[in-house]
């Protein structure tokens, strides 16, 4: 898991190497389960509008920025995540969120890379403006375990090259929750209960893992996961606000260009999943003193189709 294994992958058509297909299947299944069994308060209209707006915005962006091809996979993932997470009484808000998510990645960019995870940005704007809310408590245990298994299965099946950030975040976050419980003298049931949220899994497997908005190098991604964890825990236990990982991620996203500058790696391409380590020197060499070549490469990175996806 995590390493790009070119040998047997190269025998499959490029499309099947794309981990987003598995992610779409996983999110769709979860949405169906949520609608049919858990009675999520999201109407068919909201789902239609969210998906439709995301695809239209992606299409418009593709045309406007003259990308070679319209790729519906990324906007579908963003839109499905929004359907699972965002709750609102007003359909225009669902459309707005969907539009913000996709438009955000075309507009808010730094050195040819979008800064914010699309879903994360849309949720932050809608929640801050009081137009909608998230229900982090909406997941049952059954859904959670099923979802966890599906997500972990996804890592194995797709060998997602950049799953390291997911694993690092979960290790840091769960680990620190357990440390906190031990320090407080609380039973371990409490941290276990705290992580039993579908929203946390969506966050770990579909938001923070987004290879387009995480640092390019593995070391950078692990540092990033730690930063996000600390920010999330501060929001949760210092500010006493719900949806803490979401706020942690939005606060840390602007640091990605800095991390990329200090710890450069190669840019991600959906069709050729990589850990980002192919083109760079060993990490020990990179940390602290990035070579001029690497820094230049990082700054100039000009990339192929899919750079906006």
């Amino acid at each position: 898991m995590g390493q790009d294994n070119g040998k047997d992958r190269s025998q499959k058509p490029a499309i099947w190497r794309d981990p987003r297909l598995y992610q779409i299947a996983c999110l769709s299944g979860l949405l169906l389960y949520g609608l049919l069994w858990l009675h999520f308060e999201v109407s068919p209209w909201q789902i239609t509008i969210t998906l439709g707006t995301a695809l239209l915005t992606q299409y418009a962006g593709t045309r406007f920025f003259k990308l070679p091809a319209f790729d519906p996979k990324s906007p579908l993932i963003s839109a499905l995540s929004l359907c699972l997470l965002l709750r609102t009484d007003q359909l225009p808000v669902a459309a707005l969120a969907s539009f913000l998510a996709i438009a955000g990645k075309f507009v808010i960019r730094w050195k040819d890379k979008h800064v914010f995870n699309p879903t994360n940005l849309a949720l932050a704007v809608v929640l801050t403006s009081g137009l909608g809310w998230m229900s982090p408590g909406q997941w049952g245990q059954v859904a959670w375990f099923g979802f966890l298994i599906a997500c972990l299965g996804g890592l194995v099946v797709t060998r997602a090259a950049r799953a390291d950030v997911t694993v690092a975040f979960l290790v840091f976050y769960v680990g620190l929750l357990i440390v906190r419980a031990l320090w407080l003298g609380d039973p371990l049931m409490i941290p276990l209960h705290q992580i039993e949220s579908g929203a946390l899994l969506i966050f770990a497997f579909f938001m923070i893992s987004d290879p387009k908005t995480t640092p390019d190098s593995r070391t950078g991604r692990i540092v990033y996961a730690l930063l996000v964890t600390l920010a999330a825990l501060y929001v949760q236990f210092g500010l006493f606000r719900p949806n803490a990982p979401l706020w942690g991620l939005i606060a840390c996203a602007p640091f990605v260009p800095l991390i990329d500058y200090l710890l450069p790696g190669s840019r991600y391409d959906w069709a050729k999943p990589s850990t980002g380590q192919r083109a760079i020197s060993p990490p020990s060499h990179v940390i602290g003193q990035p070579s001029a070549v690497n820094r230049l490469r990082s700054l100039l990175s000009i990339h192929q189709p899919g750079r906006f996806s």
């Binding site: 137009l131 229900s135 982090p136 408590g137 049952g140 245990q141 006493f240 719900p242």
Partner: protein, 448 residues
């Protein structure tokens, strides 16, 4: 003598007798719910806006009132002015207003356009007459600081802080509080989270002077970003699950739990008419059934409504003055609009009902206010069949459909409550008389 810390050792204090003849604004009672419907029930009202919180606490403390005492973890040290005595009548009004309700419709004569409509409701209340006598003792030791002590109404109140839980536990024990085994770890956890403890006992002299036979609700007002309700102390050594009703008064919209699933109860279901006389049993069993379906981990929404109105009304909306007394500080007092109808603006009521124990609710309840202002009520429908003797094609069709409808009602009832379908069918036949057998398909075909 050791005083036993109130039944549940939780933040909830003696709720006053809620024997419910709820006022009937838009209808009348068809079923008076048993006041002991839910055992060990507590009621809390939380008015909150901008981190400013007013909690009104009541519980159903039963037993020897001499043993009554209450320990509540609170996020700040409370001044005397931040503690207040509430009015039981207002809490009762709030409970009535938001109670699950029964609505009654009468089928029209299918041969004539004619309709009757009536609203019925049943109030589900908790009770606990309690009077108490406690002797006050004080001590300082073991790292426990009495930050403040006040007498408010019939209550003696201490605000304690402590360096560590053993000291606090010993202090409480020496002062006559019987601490359940296992509470120490929970106290420790709260102390590390910078919580203080609000301890209330009864001042006998004051109670005698006031001449009250019951305990009035206690109110505290504070400002804190923590939007939560500490239930963990209440689950230590608790004998079985406990019921908690939480009423939220907020400005923006509905409140839900962020660390447990908040579920809407099934509503607007048509149930057999005979439930009219057993609405209390019906609702209690329905609730138990829903709790089971959620693996005993759910928090249930019973009511979410703008305080301006109701439909059907189980009781009048609360007046601006009543809401103020429950802590709605963001409202102006002159809130009457129209013909003397009390209108409270910018107040949204959420009523949550939770059955909790330590195994299924390990963590305190944490809430968030959403921007959802859509209305919800736990409402159940009775449809009285038309029993006329008129004959016309429409009446024939009606009688045929009635049987199917009643069967469906029976199944709905069985599904909601877990009652035996055979018992329900039996009861329905008793209640509604012999049912007409539907004609067979070939009889209908050739109109035999």
């Amino acid at each position: 003598m050791k005083r036993i810390v109130a039944t549940t050792f939780t933040l909830l204090i003696g709720l006053l007798a809620w024997n419910g003849d709820a006022s009937a604004f838009c209808g009348f009672y068809v079923a008076k719910a048993d006041t002991k419907l839910f055992n060990k029930a507590s009621e809390v009202t939380i008015a909150r806006h901008d981190n400013k919180t007013v909690i009104t606490m009541a519980n159903d403390f039963k037993g020897d009132v001499k043993e009554f005492a209450m320990v509540v973890p609170v996020p700040t040290i409370l001044e005397k002015d931040q503690i207040h005595i509430g009015e039981a009548a207002v809490l009762k009004h709030l409970a009535d207003y938001s109670a699950p309700r029964l609505v009654e419709y009468f089928d029209e004569n299918p041969c004539r356009r004619y309709e009757l409509f009536q609203d019925k409701m049943g109030a589900l209340k908790n009770m606990a007459p309690a009077s108490a006598e406690l002797k006050r003792e004080r001590d300082r030791a073991l790292g426990v600081t009495i930050e403040a002590q006040y007498t408010v109404g019939e209550y003696d109140i201490l605000i304690l802080s402590a360096r560590e839980s053993n000291g606090l536990e010993t202090w409480l024990s020496e002062n006559g509080y019987k601490i359940p085994n296992g509470a120490s770890a929970v106290l420790q956890s709260y102390l590390k989270q910078h919580m203080n403890f609000f301890v209330a006992k009864i001042n006998l002299g004051e109670q005698a002077k006031l001449g009250l036979s019951h305990l009035r609700p206690l109110q505290i007002a504070f400002e804190s970003p923590k939007f939560m309700l500490p239930i963990r102390l209440g689950t230590v050594n608790a004998d079985g699950a406990q019921e908690l009703f939480i009423y939220f008064l907020t400005k923006q919209g509905r409140v839900e739990t962020t660390n447990y699933r908040t579920i809407r109860l099934p509503e607007a279901q048509e149930i057999p008419v005979y439930v009219k006389d057993r609405f209390g049993d019906f609702y209690r069993d329905l609730f138990t059934q829903q709790v089971k379906r959620e693996s005993e981990r759910g928090v249930f929404l019973e009511y979410a409504w703008d305080m301006n109105w109701c439909d059907p009304c189980a009781a009048n909306p609360l007046s601006t003055e009543e809401l103020r007394s429950l802590g709605v500080f963001w409202q102006e007092t002159n809130g009457r609009i129209g013909k003397g109808m009390p209108m409270a603006q910018n107040v949204f009521l959420t009523r949550l009902h939770v059955r909790y124990d330590a195994a299924h609710f390990p963590e305190d309840l944490v809430f968030q206010e959403t921007t959802d202002r859509s209305n919800f009520q736990a409402r159940y429908i009775l449809r009285h069949p038309w029993n006329g003797t008129d004959d016309c094609p429409a009446a024939t069709a009606y009688r045929q459909q009635l049987r199917e409808r009643q069967e469906k009602e029976a199944q709905t009832l069985a599904n909601l409550t877990g009652w035996q379908i055979s018992e329900i069918r039996k009861a329905m036949q008793l209640a509604s008389g012999p049912l007409i057998e539907p004609k067979k398909w070939y009889e209908r075909l050739w109109n035999n």
